[in-house]
Symmetry: C2
Subunit: 268 residues, 2 copies
């Protein structure tokens, strides 16, 4: 499995990915899922990949080949980010069709999903999620992040923290916590964690991190977060039976359960 996410914030974009791929429990490997394309001072793209590794590698090779061959439609020729997403959707569909029948017959999935983000000249920075079928969505002022792969474990912390005005640093930290939480709960997501922070209108990559499991910053972040979470628990409001407040509500609650229980136990 895989977990990648990207965010659109007022100050720019944040991308993060894990690096574990697995086909069954005995075929676990490490692959970077973060790929960058840059025409300095003109256009920058970050591509995150999830799903079938052969399909995503084939799509990646197509993107590079199309750039090298300077074909009519490539990441360096498209007019806007949405055109780049449409281009990626097309080649994703074309690459999957080459192997779909044989893989489906064999009981495998040929699906690959992508997050493509970046900025072209003075157009606003954008991110797009490209589905295995080639269609795609982008973010909105209410929905600031997109996820691919094993996305559920790490979503609640994003839902709580990420908003348009969130600073790029906080957003990147939140992405790390989101991926760390996923790694703790699911063994198919693993380090190193890659993070790219893109500052709006710079048209260049300046903040990139690749954090191994033993990276001092990641260890520091994880320990601090763990400590803070435990502290966050300590001053949560107590239950009635732990203290003195709200005895009344507890009383009524207990009455409700007694009633339900008695009915079930009348012949017990």
């Amino acid at each position: 499995m895989t977990y990648c996410l990207a965010m659109t914030l007022d100050d720019g974009l944040v991308f993060a990915s894990d690096s574990r791929t697995n086909a069954g429990a005995d075929q676990v490997a490490m692959y970077s899922k973060t790929h960058t394309f840059e025409l300095e001072k003109e256009r920058v793209f970050v591509l995150l990949t999830a799903g079938n590794l052969a399909t995503s590698q084939a799509v990646l090779a197509r993107i590079k080949r199309d750039i090298e061959d300077e074909v009519e439609e490539s990441l360096y020729s498209v007019r806007g980010l949405s055109d780049a997403a449409a281009y990626l959707g097309r080649i994703n569909r074309e690459e999957r069709e080459k192997h779909e029948d044989t893989l489906t017959k064999a009981g495998f999935s040929v699906d690959a999903s992508f997050i493509l983000g970046g900025q072209i000249e003075q157009q606003p920075p954008e991110i797009y999620l490209i589905y295995p079928q080639g269609n795609f969505i982008t973010t909105s002022s209410h929905t600031r992040f997109l996820q691919i792969g094993e996305s559920k474990y790490g979503k609640p912390i994003l839902d709580r923290i990420i908003a348009g005005e969130t600073s790029l640093g906080d957003a990147a930290r939140c992405a790390l916590v989101s991926i760390d939480s996923t790694m703790r709960s699911n063994v198919t997501v693993g380090p190193p964690i890659e993070v790219i922070v893109y500052e709006k209108d710079t048209l260049a990559f300046e903040h990139y991190l690749c954090l191994d499991a033993d990276d001092e910053y990641l260890i520091d972040l994880k320990r601090t977060w763990d400590d803070n979470i435990r502290r966050a628990f300590q001053d949560l409001p107590r239950f009635d039976w732990e203290g003195t407040r709200g005895q009344k509500r507890r009383g009524t609650q207990m009455a409700a359960l007694r009633k339900a229980t008695q009915k079930m136990t009348k012949k017990g």
Copy 2:
């Protein structure tokens, strides 16, 4: 969907469940998924249900009928908790078989899962997860909680907090946070939230809460947790580009990205 969880702690057991059921987006209803059975001072059971509502209601009706009819094998006659789990597995299998063919043909799932926990006389308290096929598992000293339904969103906080020595109050609060996080991220899980805290060797239910969305304690807990999470973020270690420390590592990281990027862009 549904989200239920239960925990075995040194001091006793904690059970929690949401109350939303849905068959498609336009068939959303509210059902309690927490059911209790009590032979005072002899045996207590809590049953949490997830999956096909017809199957779980049929199983529940069977349990009550078997108690009322005082049949040979019922929750009030079984020798231990594992026998209760085996009994539940059997009637779950029997009830699903009545409708499996027709529902599967119609494209529906007949699956229902259960968590059954409690204590019989002086035996240790236990919880069991009963699968739709009737087999079952329990907890261990390393794995303190079991979940059914929409379990991924709420798992990371349990992985961080729950251990054998966790107090019943902290465990119940953690269960509420786990369900609240799930409700925020997934609309098929909803209030009221029911919580039962069972103190080891009491053989009676004393702490029960049913918290509606507008319950003052739940609102208080959610607001405090939200504030604490935000505060927990504020003192996480900063990135290099936000401060002054670790310039060296950032330098090497950036070099790595430049190299990768240049290769891709040489003909761009």
